[in-house]
Symmetry: D2
Subunit: 183 residues, 4 copies
């Protein structure tokens, strides 16, 4: 889970917390995250494609990934979702946040890779995951190298899973199941 | 629940079923319905308004109502939702069907008003209810006399409930709870 | 989907509907079904096993299957779930129906095997699917030949899927995703 | 939200975090909470009663409350739920944790009482809320003075709401809506 923090993040987040502080907190308390699975819908609302980023991850790999980021102090979940979608997909993505605040699943990332099957070497993170339809055009920003739309049957398959880390492939498959598109 | 069937309905549905046939079926088998609570969202996806129709209902009243209609043989739930949204809100409503096929609640309408609290004098209907964001402009069509947007705090209140029949006010309040906007 | 109707069914259901009547209805109107994925939970509520029946199916195969049955006129979804669980798993299963009436998914079975990926040669059925923890002991009843508990990682795998028909393997995988146990 | 921390809490949690540390963290980062609405079910799974504690709250009032507590570092959501249920309802409650890890709603408690409608003077907390059926006998423990079962129509009413603080009455009403029992 999670991309390497870069300059932009530090600028935004340092209003609240220094890097050292965050490092310390990560060993003491679970960190709240939001994650978004970007999707394209057809005219009847069916998911046709899943959007995936290619980026440098916290575990040192270059992997496929979904949108993911920390919730800041005083920030609502919706604000955190919108901020992270903007940072990862660019200003022309026009994401449509869901009407319900309930995530379709919750992932518990742990430093121990065995405990839950979700792994983040840096921290214990509790991540609320949402399916987010995208109306506009995505341009990979921040640390992302690439963005691409993948058809649903491919997004849930082995080839894509093999390129994801930390358990994010399981979030993609849970999202596909939630929207009735898991093969 | 349910508006009085009118000419347009009969035209569309008579490909499958005569009025007499439908009458007979209604006493023998539960009928599948879809219902939609039309909503307006702000830029962060929060529901700000609920859309309500004013129409002649099956119980003989003129009441506030949500979008509601039968699923036809061979028709998917998404097609039924879209067809009934079009019929009730007009062709410029541009409803955005949800990515997930799972309804936010299920209502069981019975001829006996006591059994479930959802009442339809004509039939036993099992209704799958969805929250549907509306992007366009609604024009009441079919048997509807009027359409209006009501603020969330008002939509869940007693004055609106008193003008709804069959238990549809409970569907509106469940929808508001689902999207985190029940007062 | 759906086992071959047998004597017990006819006895119970003939209060409402003759076999001939039902046959006619099936070509005219979608039929309401409930389906249950029986599960075993550990002490923290995690699903450890999925219960599968082996039975003669409507498509002529002997296949693995979940609990499935029609909702009768005037019967609530909960009553239909409990009646079908009792019929399929026996009187000592002690199923714990979920507190929420919302299914975890909805499956649309069609005579056309392509349309939705859920296939029932007899009918268009709209099926509300629930995860149902089982506290007691299951004894296959009715037309079922066998009942067995399968570990979650196996239940979502290819070998089990290959033995299921009509798309029920997809309901099992959606159930596993819903409870956070899809591999 | 949240009871006053007492000795038992400190003993358990001090393995991870001192009181001073926690105080500091609360101003820097959102804190992960779990909340449980205890319920009694009838034989068909319908919620008949909601369980409410009476306790000294963080805002200085003696109020009705649901089960609520922080998730500790390295602790899973299920473990946190079970630990807080045990602490609040005693060892004979036998709570049945839900099969799905998805909460029925998420509440965002803020020091600013206006921002979200959920208020905690001490912190920004993101709380995952679950409906938890109780099989056993509840004995108020920890800082709770009393525990009582309240019928669903009463639990969603004004008299009970007036005795709850921080917005927990809204969580109760969302829970009732989720299980189809909101009046």
């Amino acid at each position: 889970m999670g991309e390497i923090d870069n300059d932009i993040d530090v600028d935004i987040e340092s209003q609240w917390l220094s890097d050292d502080d965050l490092e310390t907190l990560r060993g003491k308390i679970p960190i709240v995250y939001v994650e978004a699975v970007p999707v394209r819908l057809d005219e009847l609302g069916r998911v046709t494609h899943v959007g995936l980023l290619r980026r440098a991850m916290a575990d040192g790999t270059i992997s496929l990934a979904i949108v993911s980021g920390r919730v800041l102090w005083g920030e609502s979940l919706r604000e955190a979702l919108m901020r992270n979608l903007d940072k990862d997909l660019g200003p022309a993505a026009f994401p449509r946040l869901p009407a319900s605040p309930t995530p379709f699943t919750v992932a518990e990332y742990m430093p121990d890779p065995i405990q839950t099957g979700f792994h983040d070497p840096r921290q214990h993170a509790v991540s609320l995951a949402y399916v987010v339809p995208i109306q506009g055009h995505c341009e990979p920003a921040r640390s992302a190298l690439e963005f691409s739309w993948v058809e649903t049957h491919e997004a849930g398959g082995l080839a894509v899973s093999a390129e994801m880390t930390g358990g994010q492939d399981r979030i993609v498959r849970r999202a596909l199941a939630h929207v009735g598109r898991l093969p």
